[in-house]
Every structure is written in C-alpha cells, then in structure tokens.
C-alpha cells in the first residue's frame, strides 16, 4: 500500500536519509512533476500562465528570505534591495558587456550575496529589533544609491532594458517558454533549500535561531554562519531580481522598494516560517491577493458604489487586507498556512480516529 507510513522497511542508510522516505511522498512528487511539467503549461491560457510565472519568481525569493528569517532567526527588512542589486548587476552585465542570461544570472546572485553579507555584518553585534532597523537602513541606502548613481541605474527613469534570455540560438520569449525556464529555477531552489537544511550548514542555522548561546557552546561558529545565512539568502534574492528583470524585460527600481521587502516578509509569515512548503503557499497567496481582489471588487463592489469608486478603492483595500492577514496569522496561527495544511493532512492520516 503506497499511502501507508507504517511497514516501510529501510535497509540502508541511504534509504533512511532520503529526502522523501515514504512511497506516498515519492508518488506525490512524481504526480506534481507531471502536473506542472506536462498538464498545466499546455492546459492554461497565456494569462493564467503569466500569473503562475509571477508566483514561480516569488517562490524563489520567499525561499531565500525564509532561510534567513525562518531558519536562522535573523530579521531582514532589506530583501527588496538585495533583489534590486541582483537585477541591476545582471542588467548592466547583459547590456554593457553582452553577457548571456546564463552568465548574468549567477553574477547577479553573487553580487547580491556580497552586498547581503555586508548588510548582514551588524548582525554580528546586534539582533532582534536593532537588526531589523539596520536592515531597513540597508534597504533605504541601497535604494538611494541605485537611484542616484547613474552608472548603475542607467540614467533616465533608473531603468535598463534587457534582451530576452537565450538558450543557444533559441530565444525564450513566450509565456510558455518563460514558464519552463522559471520552473527550472523553482525546482533548483526547492531542492537546494531542502538539502541545505539537512546539511551541516542548515543545522547550524537552526541552532542559531533556537538559541544562539547554546549554539556557540556546541561549537557552531555563529559569526561565520550568520554571514553565510545572509549571503545565501541574498543570493536567492539576487536570482529573484534577475528573474524579474528578464521576465519583465526591464530592470526597474520600482519593483524592489521597501513594499517588496514587506510583501516577501508577509509571504513567509502567512505561509509559515521555517518551512519550504510554507514559502510556496505564501508566495502563491500573496501573489494572488492583488490579482483576486479586483475580480472580487468588480463582481460585488458595484452593488455598493460606482465602478470608478470601486477602482479607486482597490489599492487601499489590498493594503488593508494584506496588513490584516499578517496580523491575523501572527495572532491566531503563527505557523501559517503550512500548519493549516498539516492539520488537514493529519486529520486524514488518523481518520476515522480522532487521535
């Protein structure tokens, strides 16, 4: 029986250490691979595909931020700035030096990792609230720098147009082609995060989050691992920024302002701190929210007010809903959507018994 957890006999260490030790988990992953690889891209309309693409980009960034906040316990309100560093680095390399996408992407990530590690230096001395404020300062300073240094931002409007990514001589242009490109990075990001958290480095992150002094006593080099956490997380952020840039065809600082940082924080809080699945849930939720609210408002809002008034209220309504959701999740369900999902799953696992 593939869906049973008992009776799974592991005879090797490799089987015991496997990412998905249960047959049902392996079948689920295979099923999802078929769904996302073969069914969805060809069944969905171009518009829906573009939404999935936006979610895919957000998943990479949310995973990165979750490594820092959820697993290592270091707050960062500067994630949007790290994305912009990646975006502008890649755009500059692509436009000035004619670097292909495949080179610009890791370069953007590495530059973001470098900047992230520098912004993370205060974390060696301070934590909690003070660190949150320090990263907020990092966000504002990076934003200002990119905006005012024309060498980086390319002058007018502080935006740089980038060419489409290519694979050999094949140009990736349509939503469908973009979908497969982005999904590749999502899969890499998920697998990398899952494995990172099983490794020595990931365990060190978790130890620092749970009790930094105890971690230091057990031989974890806190200074090093905190900087590593900032660097890894910023690398993800940089890659997210590059993906955004290539997806939109333009690097624009307005995509990476402080609001973006807060959006990503909301993703991991609503989704669930310190969980891969939670990052994905959160990315889906927060990306869909601004898309679904206009639908709902145009359907029902017309009952109370004029269409023009409805359109004016949508951005405000989005902010209100978004903020309330953060507060509600923090107060009522701190472990986020991931916990809700686990509750549902456990219910069916034990069914028909209550415990």
């Amino acid at each position: 029986m593939i869906h049973r957890e008992c009776g799974v006999l592991k005879t090797t260490y490799a089987a015991d250490m496997a990412l998905y030790p249960l047959p049902i988990a392996r079948w689920t992953v295979a099923g999802l691979a078929v769904l996302f690889g073969l069914v969805l891209p060809f069944a969905l309309h171009e518009y829906y595909l573009s939404i999935v693409n936006l979610i895919a980009i957000a998943v990479v960034g949310a995973l990165g931020l979750n490594i820092l906040v959820g697993w290592t316990g270091q707050i960062s309100i500067g994630h949007g700035a790290f994305m912009s560093v990646g975006a502008y680095t890649a755009a500059n390399f692509a436009v000035r030096l004619d670097f292909p996408f495949w080179l610009a992407l890791p370069l953007g990530g590495l530059m973001a990792a470098l900047v992230g590690a520098v912004v993370g230096i205060p974390s060696l001395r301070i934590k909690g609230l003070y660190l949150a404020i320090a990263t907020l300062a990092g966000q504002l300073i990076i934003e200002w720098t990119i905006n005012h240094v024309t060498f980086i931002s390319g002058g007018v409007q502080a935006s740089i147009e980038v060419p489409r990514p290519t694979l050999g001589s094949f140009v990736i242009a349509s939503q469908l082609e973009m979908y497969f490109l982005l999904m590749t990075f999502v899969v890499i990001a998920i697998v990398a995060t899952l494995n990172l958290m099983r490794s020595r480095v990931g365990r060190a992150f978790i130890a620092i989050r749970d009790h930094d002094i105890a971690a230091e006593l057990t031989g974890v080099n806190i200074f090093r691992y905190k900087l590593v956490a900032f660097a890894v997380s910023s690398f993800y952020a940089g890659v997210t920024g590059v993906l955004y840039t290539y997806y939109l065809g333009i690097a624009n600082y307005e995509q990476f302002q402080i609001v973006t940082s807060i959006d990503y924080l909301a993703m991991i809080i609503i989704g669930g701190l310190g969980s891969v699945l939670g990052s994905i849930f959160g990315a889906i939720f927060v990306t869909l929210l601004p898309i679904l609210i206009p639908y709902a408002m145009e359907a029902f809002g017309g009952l109370f007010m004029s269409q023009a008034a409805v359109r004016n209220t949508i951005p405000n309504l989005r902010l209100i809903l978004f903020g309330s959701l953060i507060i509600i999740f923090l107060v009522v369900e701190p472990e986020g959507l991931n916990r809700l999902w686990r509750n549902i799953r456990n219910y069916f696992r034990f069914w028909p018994f209550a415990y």
Partner: protein, 297 residues
C-alpha cells in the same frame, strides 16, 4: 549669502526640523519604554491623526478646539484598541512577531486612511501666520517653531511624569521587569494601555504640526521613517534621547543636504540619517542615553 550665514541657516533649520522629528520619536519611545513593544506604524499614527484633524476642520467646518479634541480622542481610542486587539496577544512572543505585527498594522492604516477620507492632499490650516520670523541670518517659519516648542514641552511633561508621578514610576517598574511589577500589585495591562494612549496623544500633536507643514495625505506617514535614526541615536528608551537624537538627525540631514545636494542632484536628506544610524549601530547600538542592556550576540 555669506558662508557662515548659510551654515547658521542650515543649523537653525536642522534644529527646528529635528525637534519636530523628536515629537514623533517621543511616541515610539513611550511605547518602547513601558511595554518593550516596537511600533513600526508610528508614521501611520501621525498620518491618521492628521487626517482626523484635517477632515474635522475642512469637511465639517468644526472650530479648531473641537478638531484638536477629535484628533486626540481618535488617537487615544486607536491606541487603546490596538493594544487590546493586536499587541496584547503577542506578549511573550519572539520579537519578529511584534515587528511584523506593527508592519502589518502600518499597511492597514496606510490603506484605511485614504479609503476613509479620500486620497487627495488636504490642507490642515492652523491659525498660525505663514510669514517666517527673520532674525539676522535666521529664517524661522512659525509652524516649525510651534513644533519645536511642543516637543520641548512634552520633554518636560514626560520627564516629570516618569521621574515624579506615581503612574510614571509604576511604568518604569514595568519596563524594568514585568513579573516583578505584577508581583508588587501593579496592573501591568492597564499601564500598557496607558502607554499606548500617551503615544496616541503625542502622535495627534505630531500629526497636526506635520500635517500643517506638509499637507495631509498618505505620504505624511513617510515622516515615520525618520523615527528610527532618531531613536537609535538617542537611545530607544530615553525621552531625552528622542530630543537629542532628533536634533542630531535634523542638523545632520540639513547640513549634509546643503553641502552635498548640489553635487549629487538631491535626496541627501533621505540618505544621511541612515548612514549615521548604521554607524551608531556599529559603535554604540544602545544610543547616547539608552540603557546599556541590549540584545547582543
């Protein structure tokens, strides 16, 4: 203009603007001092207060005292309500939770303000003349002078409150150790509510002064971003620190803007305070007057 006159002008402007920043920073410090909670929504408090006063004055044509009373009442109510609904359930939870809750609160208020009162910029007319006083090289707009006077007044009032009054001493005891304060028979939750109400009062006055200076719309909340450099420099839990931090930030940003802006094309004002803050965090994270017990690695 002579060089020294230019410098003196920048300094005096910095002092006045800085004291107006202190007024907002005071609200942050009051909450942090008594409850250990962080209010990332301080700027949004100011915005909401500005909206209430401006709308009461403008749309309903109420007299100024009534508008001020409405603003104070609204902000005190907001303070009480938020403490009850949002902050109290988060007592004892990790700091990330409180930080994020107030960030979420900021988003809600930023949406709620324009949704309720409209997005266009509203004037907030106070019965204060527009013409600046000119004293030699100095050039002092009356509204800034008023803001500075109010800030100093509050410094004196809260200084007396925390040092001498019974309630103030109780609040300091709570800040020191909530458990011990509870054991001594202090109703901790009621003092939390009081602290949030006091923040409401300070924010209401800040909203009026800043709203008069900038006009009331959603951008008024951006003033709140200046709170962090101010309180980090002064010390998170020090009322005197809020004033001194405000002075430093005001002077630094004005002088820096005066001398650097011509070379980089503007925007130094929004940049210099944060550089200063990063330096302060690296060298003296608890600020000039802050308690030396801080979360350290």
């Amino acid at each position: 203009m002579l060089d020294w006159q230019f410098f003196v002008l920048l300094m005096s402007n910095g002092v006045l603007i800085g004291l107006m920043y202190s007024l907002i920073a005071l609200g942050f410090v009051l909450v942090y001092k008594a409850t250990d909670a962080i209010n990332f929504a301080q700027g949004e408090f100011v915005m909401i207060a500005g909206f209430v006063v401006a709308v009461t004055l403008g749309a309903y044509g109420a007299p100024l005292p009534a508008a001020v009373a409405a603003g104070l009442a609204a902000m005190i109510g907001l303070g009480f309500g938020l403490e009850r609904v949002v902050l109290r359930p988060l007592i004892g939870r990790p700091i990330i939770a409180v930080v994020m809750a107030t960030i979420g609160l900021a988003a809600v208020l930023r949406g709620l303000g324009p949704l309720t009162w409209g997005a266009e910029t509203k004037p907030l007319p106070l019965p204060i003349p527009d013409e600046p006083f000119i004293l030699g090289p100095l050039f002092i707009p009356p509204i800034q002078l008023l803001g500075a006077v109010v800030a100093l007044l509050f410094l004196a009032v809260f200084g007396w409150f925390f040092l001498k009054s019974r309630k103030g001493v109780a609040m300091r005891a709570i800040a020191d150790s909530q458990q011990v304060a509870m054991a001594m028979g202090i109703n901790v939750e009621r003092y939390f509510a009081l602290a949030w109400a006091m923040t409401g009062v300070v924010s209401a006055l800040g909203g009026m002064v800043w709203g008069n200076l900038l006009g009331v719309d959603v951008h008024l909340s951006l003033v709140g971003l200046k709170v962090f450099p101010v309180v980090i420099l002064g010390g998170l839990d020090s009322i005197l620190g809020a004033i001194v931090g405000g002075l430093i930030v005001g002077i630094v940003e004005n002088v820096a803007a005066g001398y650097i802006d011509p070379y980089v094309g503007g925007g130094t004002k929004d940049f210099a305070p944060y550089v200063l803050m990063i330096l302060a965090l690296m060298i003296r994270p608890y600020g000039i007057f802050g308690k030396k017990i801080i979360e350290r690695v």
